[in-house]
């Protein structure tokens, strides 16, 4: 039997993406971000999420997409995955929807400029809507963090 998945849908550079709802802790509006020096450009810094300091990743930057101004629609999706807690800056968070596991197909090599390894697959919903499922393990891959640790002052 194919399993039903509940996903949070958000948009980034005119594409729609999905993250399993159980990995999403909350969705926040933009709050002031404290820059952390000597990290990657796509790490925007840290925020105070109700007393917990959470690092914030600009997903556009992470995927090498051109960065854009933050708007009223900009959201921070707080994601918990394998003991990592991070926030993703996305253009907008629009919906929660059920999709069928079967409808997820392997991602084509390049989707909107994003490397396929970051993607779990593409789900077809409705007639012409495509939902790109994120592969969080790759997006938050440790090797990037290891590289950070090697930076010298």
């Amino acid at each position: 039997m194919a399993e039903e998945l509940k996903v949070v849908v958000f948009s980034l550079a005119h594409e729609e993406y999905g993250i399993e709802v159980e990995k999403v802790k909350t969705i926040e509006r933009m709050t002031p971000i404290t820059r952390v020096p000597k990290t990657y450009d796509f790490i925007k810094g840290v925020i105070n999420l109700r007393g917990v300091v959470v690092p914030i990743i600009d997903l556009r930057g992470r995927f090498g997409l051109p960065e854009s101004e933050f708007t009223d629609q900009t959201r921070i999706i707080i994601v918990t995955h394998q003991e990592l807690e991070v926030g993703f800056i996305v253009d907008a968070a629009s919906d929660v929807m059920d999709i069928n596991e079967d409808s997820i197909e392997p991602a084509p090599e390049v989707v909107g400029g994003i490397q396929a390894k970051y993607l779990r697959g593409v789900a077809k919903i409705g007639d012409n809507r495509l939902l790109i499922m994120l592969n969080l393990t790759e997006v938050l891959h440790k090797s990037e963090i290891v590289k950070l640790e090697q930076l010298e002052v």
Binding site: T34, P37, K38, I43, G45, P55, E83
Partner: protein, 699 residues
């Protein structure tokens, strides 16, 4: 019943009991004749046994049971502690610890403890040392209150029969008009004494001694003498109503318990004893019965002992255990509240309404009290770290064949939980070091005109915002030349440099990685690992180590630690619109320098004069890639002078905000380590400020 929910409680308590057992055993070792300590140990062991049985950890329960048997003899003065017994008991403790550790790790707590059990049993039988058996036989073993045999007693009786000895069950009834029942009973035991050994008496000997019996008692007796002879001899004691001696065979012993249960209603005399004793468990607590359920032991005895233990506990234990994570959550909620408080204060200030202002002021007071309490809750006495050391030092001294007095002071000194968790290992290294390297072998000490027993002092105390832990020993002291020679051989220092080094600098060489002055690699140390780890660990906790030493007189390691890692006094400052904090502990002073005072070296490094020396001026804005501020254009630069060990440096900043107590927060797993940043804190306005790690800047 689902026992899993009690598992963590069980583990905590088991560890507590093991710790207590260890401590008291050590205490007993120094005062082997103090029966009151044995009582305490016995109670701990007994509770542990009950707990384990309830939780279904049979191996744990049966090993503690064997220990209990030994301890029981000791507390009834039937057995004197000696080295063999101590070793066997310590070994049992180790095995118990291993089992509990296994349970903690998710195992079933099983272990092969046959050897230990054999040793313990041989102690109880007295045949580990034959000379002892005569002494034990004079008195009787007091075990259970009812007439049932426990597994252990049964096995003794069975073995005795197999060994060709006679096993008798003797029932003695005193006359109604007997005046001194206890004395008569004592005489009976006196008569029995030379003939063999009382394995069990009902009621127990101590009750009989205190006249707590109703005129009859039973003994299980192992002897070579014939029944008739015994009966006759015992009969010579006056004021006895009757003496019945029944010879027991193997089968009788095996079926004894069943028979007793079947007979308990009919056999009048036995019944009185049993009923009287069984009144106790009904008043007693149900858990005590449940605890005994796993063991073939008489419930009356169990509950009586358990009640005693609980009563004792109620006095000492006015605490509850809280998961540290919950305290963290509480702390987070509190810091959120503090942020809202600041906002409220601002709103109240704007609105200028008396009632509101008063309420907010009250809220402010309450919340700062709350904050204090939550912070205090995280403080733990350093005892929890120290308490495992006496045992370690004992074992170490023993294995090295040295004599060491270990003295702990200030075990009640409180430290933040986070520091406590980290400090154990470094202290272990330092203590091992003190016993192995510091204290000389006995012969050397005598040759040096010292007492043969060395002393290791472990002290903890507060001083200002720091906790000091000292490990001092009166051993051989550090030989400066030896250290320097070794350092030069390893290429750590050059000959010229060596000559000009202060003693303190020389001693710090010991912390160099791979450094060891031990000529021989022993089991304990000398492999050159350890002290460098100690140093880096303590440094990572924001503390440092100082060594003082006098050749021939001993060495003192002083570890200085911050009181807490989660709250620290810091200086807040700005770089453009970014706010940062720097721990006050590493700040020497703050000040200003004008552009003219800055000198440039060839490499472009900026230096300033400070007191009598020249120190580097680091640009924080450049190090942190600040876009909005750069100190290079400023005419006057605010500086913070920071220290790491001997080295000083000035950090150029934009502006001071002020001094403040800040709550240290990690940056999260994703940003585990960022160079130059040790963490973050949340300011009153809800903003996150980063905490600068001066140690990383002063490499």
């Amino acid at each position: 019943m689902d026992l899993n929910q009690y598992l963590s409680m069980f583990i905590d308590e088991a560890n507590d009991h093991l710790q207590a057992l260890n401590e008291h055993m050590l205490e007993l070792e120094s005062r082997p004749d103090d029966v009151s300590i044995v009582q305490v140990i016995f109670r701990s062991a007994h509770t542990l046994k009950g707990m384990s049985a309830t939780m279904g950890f049979e191996d744990l329960a049966s090993l503690t049971h064997e220990m209990e048997n030994v301890l029981d003899l000791v507390r009834n003065n039937q057995l004197a502690m000696d080295e063999f017994i101590f070793d066997a008991l310590f070994k049992s403790l180790d095995a118990l610890e291993a089992m509990v550790a296994d349970i903690t790790a998710g195992g079933a707590g099983k272990a092969d403890v046959t050897q230990i059990v054999v040793a313990l049993q041989s102690i109880v039988r007295g045949d580990y040392k034959h000379a002892d058996s005569a002494a034990t036989s004079e008195q009787q073993q007091a075990e259970d209150d009812a007439d049932t045999l426990d597994e252990f007693q049964r096995s003794i009786l069975e073995q005795s029969v197999e060994a060709g000895l006679h096993v008798y069950h003797m029932r003695v009834q005193l006359r109604e008009d007997c005046v001194l029942k206890a004395a008569r009973a004592y005489m009976v035991f006196q008569v029995l004494g030379p003939h063999g050994e009382v394995v069990k008496s009902t009621p127990p000997a101590q009750d009989i001694e205190q006249d707590k019996f109703d005129g009859s008692f039973h003994v299980f007796f192992v002897t070579t003498t014939e029944a008739a002879v015994l009966e006759k001899e015992v009969g010579t004691v006056s004021e006895l109503e009757s003496v019945h001696v029944t010879s027991l065979g193997l089968e009788d012993i095996k079926q004894w318990n069943d028979r007793i249960q079947a007979l308990s209603g009919k056999q009048e005399v036995a019944a009185t004893a049993v009923v009287e004793q069984q009144a106790a468990p009904q008043n007693g607590s149900a858990p005590a019965n449940a605890a005994a359920g796993g063991m073939k032991e008489d419930p009356a005895a169990t509950s009586a002992k358990t009640i005693a233990a609980t009563a004792n506990k109620a006095v000492q234990n006015r605490t509850i255990r809280v998961d540290i994570d919950r305290l963290d959550v509480l702390m987070n909620l509190l810091s959120e509240m503090l942020i809202d408080r600041v906002r409220l204060e601002k709103i109240a200030g704007d609105l200028k309404q008396n009632e509101l202002t008063e309420t907010v002021e009250h809220l402010t007071r309450v919340s700062s009290d709350l904050q204090n309490i939550v912070l205090k809750m995280r403080m733990v006495p350093i005892d929890v770290v120290f308490n495992r050391f006496p045992r370690m030092v004992r074992d170490l001294a023993k294995s090295l064949d040295k004599k060491v007095d270990f003295v702990i002071t200030g075990a009640d000194t409180e430290l933040d939980r986070t520091v406590i968790d980290e400090i154990g290992d470094p202290l272990v290294h330092l203590l091992r070091n003190a016993v192995d390297h510091g204290i000389e072998p006995i012969s050397d000490r005598i040759a040096a005109g010292k007492s043969e027993t060395g002393t290791v002092n472990l002290r903890a105390y507060h001083n200002g915002n720091h906790v000091f832990i000292e490990i001092e020993e009166n051993g051989r002291g550090i030989n400066r030349e030896l250290v320097l020679n070794k350092a030069m051989k390893n290429g750590i220092v050059t000959q010229e440099k060596a000559a000009s080094m202060s003693d303190e600098q020389v001693y710090q060489l010991l912390f160099a990685s791979g450094f060891s002055t031990a000529e021989k690699v022993s089991d304990v140390s000398g492999r050159g690992v350890g002290l460098d780890v100690v140093k880096s660990k303590i440094t990572s906790l924001g503390g440092h180590v100082i060594i003082e030493s006098k050749l021939g007189h001993g060495t003192k390691f002083i570890v200085q630690l911050p009181l807490t890692l989660s709250i620290l006094s810091a200086m807040l400052f700005r770089l453009g619109n970014e706010k940062y904090a720097i721990p006050l502990t590493s700040i020497v002073e703050t000040g200003m320098v004008s552009k003219q005072q800055i000198r440039r070296l060839h490499g472009g490094m900026r230096m300033i004069d400070y007191r009598d020396s020249v120190i580097p001026l680091l640009s924080l804005s450049a190090l942190f890639d600040c876009t909005e501020y750069s100190d290079f254009q400023e005419e006057e630069i605010e500086i913070i002078i920071v220290r790491k060990g001997e080295r000083l440096a000035a950090l150029a900043i934009d502006d001071f905000i002020g001094q403040s107590e800040i709550v240290l927060k990690p940056l999260g797993n994703y940003l585990k380590s960022v160079p130059g940043i040790s963490g973050a804190t949340i300011l009153g306005d809800g903003q996150v400020a980063l905490i600068v790690d001066p140690n990383a800047l002063l490499k």
